[in-house]
Amino acid sequence: MSDKLNSELTSRRASVSASLKTRANSIVKSEDHATPLELVDITIHYGGGKGGSEPVNVVDNFNMTLHAGEMHCVAGRSGSGKTSILTVGAGLTLPTSGRVLWEGDSLETMSDDEIADRRRALIGYVDQGGALIDGMSALENVLLPAVPDGEVEQRREMAKDLLDLVGLGRRMRHRPSQLSGGERQRVAIARALILGTRVLIVDEPTASLDRQSANRIIGILKDTTNDGIAVLVASHDHELVRLSDTLTELN
């Protein structure tokens, strides 16, 4: 079973790689840019507000530099702060202290609108379970990031190709409720790549998936890395940890 899956992954990889190189790289900047994502002395505390609850130190002085074409895995037990690091890296939440640098630019100096614009150009974020939006087909979900720039029609073919690349070419008109967990995760990855992302941040992509589905996701992520995209992934999946270029294990 595993051999068959690996074989399939290998065959798909070539296809994904070619497509990403030809389509995504036409939008993505060249690799000689500054470091796409850098986290410097990140500390994240929760609580300790007006309610009088004790503050929880989730992450203390976390440092990480993510280079293009590199997959960095953040591993650790549940509640160790993996997702927190990812959301901080994606600019979705602010750290208690420390700096987040996107291509050398600190988020501290940016407004919410600037962060949103830069995120759209730089970061693709896939949260745990691959949150898709109900009522919209897989294709529509993939095209959603193109809405703010008004490029829905221009990116439609690319979206189809991406869905094809993640193995969902025949399911692109299905709604989230009609997709399995693995399929939803793959749609979410395709959605994250639609704008020619240079950093893909993925939270627990294989959690609650069977091995076959998990391997398929892992293959896609690896292909993405090979295409020069930096991948930051949070997971405690051994296979994913094994295949990562760098690893941070949280206590």
Binding site: L92, G135, R175
Partner: protein, 933 residues
Amino acid sequence: MNAVQRFIRSRVLLLTAAILIIAMCLSILVQGQSQAALNRTVDENSRGLYDILVRAKAGNSSGTGALIQPEIASGQGGISFEQLDSIRGLGGTSVAAPISLVSRVTQNLETPRLDAMDYLGYNAGLVGTATVGQPDATDASKWPAAESVLSDKPKTYRLTASAVSSDGVNEQTLFKTSAEGSLGKGRVIEEQTPGGKSTRIAGPSGETGIKFPAPAGGSEHNLFNLSVALPLAPQVTESVVAVDPAAERALLGSAGDFLTPLEKAPPADARNAGAIGRYFESLFTSGIGMDQLKEGPDFLGVKLKYWAPLMTQYQQAKRNGQLTADSQAIPLIVRSGTSLDLKYSVKIEEIDGSGKVVQDLGTVTRSLDKDYLPFVSRSPFALAWPGSTDHSQLLGNGAFGQGLYNPAQWSTDFAKAPVYKDGEDAANGAASKTATPGEWVTVNRLPDKASNGSAVDQTQRKPVDERSYREGLETGKKPATPLPIVYGTFDPQQVKDAAGDVNRLPLGGYDPTPMTLSKGADGKDAGNAALKPSLSATGLVSQSAGAITDFYGLAAARGYDSNANVIDAVRVRAKTAGTWKQAQPEVEKLANEIRAMGLEATVVAGSAREDANIFVPGYKKDDAGKETDLGTVQQSWVRQDAADAVSGSLTGTNLTLLFLALCGATLLTGASTVSYIRQRRTEAGILRAMGWTQKKIRSWVLEEFGVGAGLLAAAGVALSLLSWNLATIIVSVTVLAIYVTAALLAAGQLKHQHVIDQEPQHDERLITIDSPLTFANRQLTTHRFNSISLAVAVGVFGSAVGALISVLIDIPRAAGASALSGLAAASIAVPSILLAFSGVLVGLLLTLVTGRFELQAKRQYIGTLQAMGWNPDMLGQVRFFEHALVGTVALPLGVLGALALGLALAPYAALWAGLAGLIAVLCWIPIATKVVK
């Protein structure tokens, strides 16, 4: 976990029960307070001085809820004294006070004069004799030096006398007469006469004096002034009513004390005018003390302060041959002051020989005012030359005031009450009527003879026609000229105050009912100018009667010599005490007993005054005879059964508001139930998987609801016991029923439903998602149930707001147009607003609860969009468009619902309800957008 724990854990159920209990408590509390305030206001203002108005059967017959005109004393009579005695004999009667309009009386005021100060000093003329016997005269050493406004050498003056009357809207010049002549400073002339020296005051040599046409008597010098007799003032007409003084005092209480002297008037057989006149003449000839002059001589136990006019009128009538052996003296209590606007002016100009004006000395004016007394006119119409000082008080105050000298002319023409035709009622029940014009009445006439018997120059004044809105009245035989005998005075305002402001029942002609002009003849707003009585006193405008007499006086004035049916109305107070509602059965019983006598008995307990709008046509005419309308006037009439109508209507409004608030609570319960079912469906599935039967799951749910039901029931019982009224019990039971229905519905909805996996949708008709708007549209379409639920909730909210606004707007109209309704509506305004506000609050909670159905999902996809790089502005647009689209669906529902509810509850405010519904829904959109953020 037992049912109570599960109930507490289930926040939705806990919230629902709490909201229902709070809504129930507040609504009942507020409604109870509102009802109590309403009852208190109505009770305090709904039982006036009397309970039943009795009139002759042929009179103004009225049904229930009729508007009673204030002129109950019409002169029509129709009730006999035997019937009055029978009413008094009824067991339920406490007071039965009869009243009748006697007649209208025209009187000529005393000759006006213009006094030019011409004081020659203490030593001059007749001062010595003038101060003899005057204890309050100023000591001789303190008299000021001589002074005069006139010159030593006579100058020629032109005096122009005019009288202008105003009805509050139009002014009318009644006459304007000029006279010329020379006037100068007086001098003392001493002449030797046989047996001594004579001193007199005379004008300077060459003085011609000034004389107006007869009956004005010219000018003369006296001790302090040069006095010029002016043209007669216009005639003033007054009406007289007859009452039973004792019964009237019982009716009015202390406010009727002014009638005490009238009770002491002599009986009919001791009222011969000649005998009484001779008695007062004898007082004058036998010598009358200063104290008697001041307080009035005692006449059968009453000090007659105004005895002098009676005596002079007696003398004048005797001289004119008017007095016969049948002439009676009529005892009167006369009104203090007048509302008649009559200004008498004299313009004084110095002229040269050619008639050219050398100097305008000014115009002096005098009006009828509070010092005026009908039948007495104790304050002479004296005008002062500019710069004059009145030194006459140096002689003391004991001067004999003659007052009116001509007997008044008593007439029964135009004594009947005005006739009105009904018009269309306004939305709030305000009555509209049209006055029926009667004949023209000629006023501003001069008497045939002057006081000295000489003929009067009739060419100096043009009589004026005034429109009467009353009809003539058939009476008894032509009466002998009566003489007024003034027993005292009364203040109409005090009588009015005694009658109260809200339940001001008509007491008769001496209870003034003012009128205001609301719209002119052109239909434009006239600013509610107060209309003043006209000269004839027969016009539409009314003021208090000039005098009150007793029924012997009526017989003398109207020429009755037998016990005729002359009582216009009897005001009956029932013996029973308590509020109008408590007294109602006994009052009705008494009214029925009176009706059995063949009389019209109108129950006025529970009535309130109400403004009637009366259109007055043909009010005046110009010289060409063209008639002009006055416009629309307002006058307080009496709305029968106003208390019942107000109480019933506002109680209905109270209950409507309570009902609407509870309707909101019902919908909230329904929404909460849906929310609860959504929460528990997953749990029910797990339980089913564990092997629980449907019945077991049902009872599991119902147990939780049972805890809430128990709490509601306990609250309902507690509230019912506390308030102890039916409304509370009904509300409590209704709320409990709502809750139990919701519970059963929820339990039923937990049945297992098989979910069928749908095939992929290849719907090419779907709109491409390329903007926040299209995204919002897709989300709402996807979550159709939630969207529709929310739209319905918002629509219901809009409808509720509209309905409540319409009820609030409609309260004054629903209450009616009476004075009581305004008072009652004001008393419940705050509770009503509270109830309405709570209803709106419940509606808002409903939208919040419904909005929470998908709040978690919304937050999730907003987060997803944010992660995709949608900026805050676009996310805001998504939220706004979602609510705007829901609002668009809710808008017709809210507006039409509000309109429909408005039409059902308060048709006159339906448009406002629709507008309120529209605004409520439009306001919800930005508020909800903010909340979801």
